[in-house]
Assembly symmetry: C3
Homo-oligomer: 281 residues x 3
């Protein structure tokens, strides 16, 4: 049977040798494993982003793919090191620190196991007393052993109730009096776009569609920071360069952009539950 | 028959999950396809750089390699999504927005086809109403199907005349009265070097050679910003650290550097047709 | 026999097409070679970092792995282009410019050969007169031919005495009157941690252990810049966010961090032999 692909995401960057060490551990377990770099540019310690990025790309991969996600501010402390199996058939090797939040909500976690450090931790190479690099010594090593078929999912370690998984609170959008309210859930930090938690389907049910001119109101901690009518476009190129617009993002969530510019920078907008957004006709 | 390699370049960076989603689509089409990251750090929306970088590295790859280039400010609008076959036997999957300019000039485009979205666009996974991520839903999906042998080049979609390809104007260097004039065509943004459009061969024909001490004059919009005699060195290490110099770059074009420094920063120099350069004895 | 893996590290970044050209050369030599990106984010011209990063990750890779390290400020000058074989069975293709310092000290160099440019330099493709990109034309090409089995180690070129290898001076820590003194040898530039040259074993011999509250004194060029008692923790999560701490790093060296912050930025600390550090009870 073909071995599953391994997709990695961390907040390590490539500024030093951490990623290279991790990948070496994988190849030392089984030379034939295929490693794909998802990203090593997750913002530091940002387990919320780790959770969102897993959800963002997971379903585009072949079933059975093993994701290794290491954004781990609590490394070496009591937080669990785990392997989760999702309802749609993917594996995630990760600290259980909130990184499973979005995947759990969107796809469901079928089963989760805590990694048994006695069996599935790297031995030798002067690593036993290292407590700060589970990405190398525990997550990559255990994930590689599992992907290689050396251990079964059961041999990862003991299962624990999926109710115990650490989850961040997630806010759902609301519709009232023709107004759709939500929050900015995350951004696209490269292009400066900002993504709400409002699905296109909610827009549609409220009768909003592409080409509509909608009133947008953004508040930070309850205080209005942006209020303006904007066009809801199919894509960026339909708006003048430098102009703000509403669009449907790649995950079918209502989002904001400046055509060939940065909405976040141009209007000083951030994300998180402090940032509320309201659309009306 | 061996499947061609797939080389990717975009302006997406790794700051969020876009690259990971694209690569997942490829592996879901055909697990055995080999993905190589060319770069995801093309400057945003910079189709000129996309064009130059394709030309810069293409000829070093095995014939038949499939390049996927997604710098696509016009995504979702009327610009064509295409697959080009070059005269020297490479395939390029790209928006037809100027990204083919340098490859067309240097190697020639033998045939170009517009991607048929009815056949070669990703279906399912809640992507049909997404208009802003052709990198995932159209370019990567179609490229993977072609590289996997699922579709032939003809099945990409209808051919169109190569005269219709969008091209940027390219300025050629001139020689007059012992002076060689050109422009700064692009930079090496990492090391701060700046590359002219003047081939080494033009220098040679004018009698300039390594070891010569040449008068260099740089103008921005016609106004002189730099004028100085510099040595034409074989490589950086022959000049003192921090000193400017002339050299022959990796594409056999006359270029400027500061030894272990940045010419662009040290002298405030940029590139584009506004920046003219003149060499004389 | 299985072909060795190829692991690359350079200071090229992905800002332009240099990495893509290098990888193309490898794949043109032998399509089946497996390329792994170690890092392309080594600080520019920083051969000390190149040396340290090789040492940091090497032992986690399968024996026989071929490392290609190109941080090469002296490209095209008289510095040797070499392939080294370490005592523990790895190959390193690199300019002999100090990049072998740490690997030599930690594992030993068994044999070193200078690359014969007559045989092992890329020909054609308009590269013969290019003197500034040995990463593409010499190191990658020669490494690929060796990894592919086209040439033997002997056919790389003539051996030379390992005494002639260019080495940086390395300072060793000292213990006196219950004080352990060393230097900051390098950093973790992503997380802002700083790594001394003092092994955990030296701490242990001096009777220092996890949980101890130790006096730390940092001097820059002999002048005190930091003096404070800090806890020696097993991992970051045991300290309050924003607080400084001592820890044992992934290479078993005593290091400093700020929990979920940057020690280097918070206290304005750098590394190198100018930066001395002293621990006492």
């Amino acid at each position: 049977m073909e071995k599953p692909l391994m997709v990695f995401q961390t907040d390590f960057t490539y500024k030093e040798g951490a990623v290279c060490s991790m990948y070496g551990v994988v190849k030392s377990v089984d030379r034939s494993l295929e490693i794909i770099t998802g990203t090593h540019d997750i913002p530091q310690f940002d387990t919320w982003s780790a959770s969102y990025r897993l959800y963002q790309s997971m379903k585009f991969w072949p079933e059975g793919t093993v994701f290794v996600s290491v954004v781990d501010p609590g490394v070496g402390t009591a937080r669990k090191a785990s392997v989760a199996l999702t309802e749609n058939g993917y594996y995630i090797v990760t600290p259980d620190n909130g990184s499973l939040t979005h995947v759990d909500r969107e796809f469901g976690i079928k089963e989760i196991r805590e990694i048994d450090e006695g069996i599935n931790r790297l031995k030798g190479k002067d690593t036993e007393e290292v407590s700060i690099f589970h990405g190398r010594d525990l997550f990559s090593y255990c994930a590689a052993r599992f992907a290689a078929g050396i251990i079964s999912f059961e041999e990862v370690g003991p299962a624990y109730p999926s109710e115990d998984i650490v989850r961040f609170p997630i806010l759902e959008p609301t519709v009232e009096d023709g107004k759709i309210s939500g929050i900015f859930e995350i951004n696209d930090p490269n292009f400066g776009n900002i993504w709400t938690n409002i699905p296109l389907s909610v827009f549609r049910e409220a009768g909003f569609d592409f080409g509509d001119y909608l009133q947008l109101r953004i508040c930070h901690k309850g205080e209005e920071t942006f209020s303006r009518k904007l066009l809801f476009h199919k894509s960026f190129g339909f708006e003048e360069k430098g102009e703000p617009m509403i669009y449907n993002n790649e995950l079918m969530k209502i989002s904001l952009a400046v055509s060939q510019g940065s909405f976040m920078e141009q209007y000083g907008i951030g994300y998180g539950s402090d940032w509320t957004v309201e659309f009306s006709c």
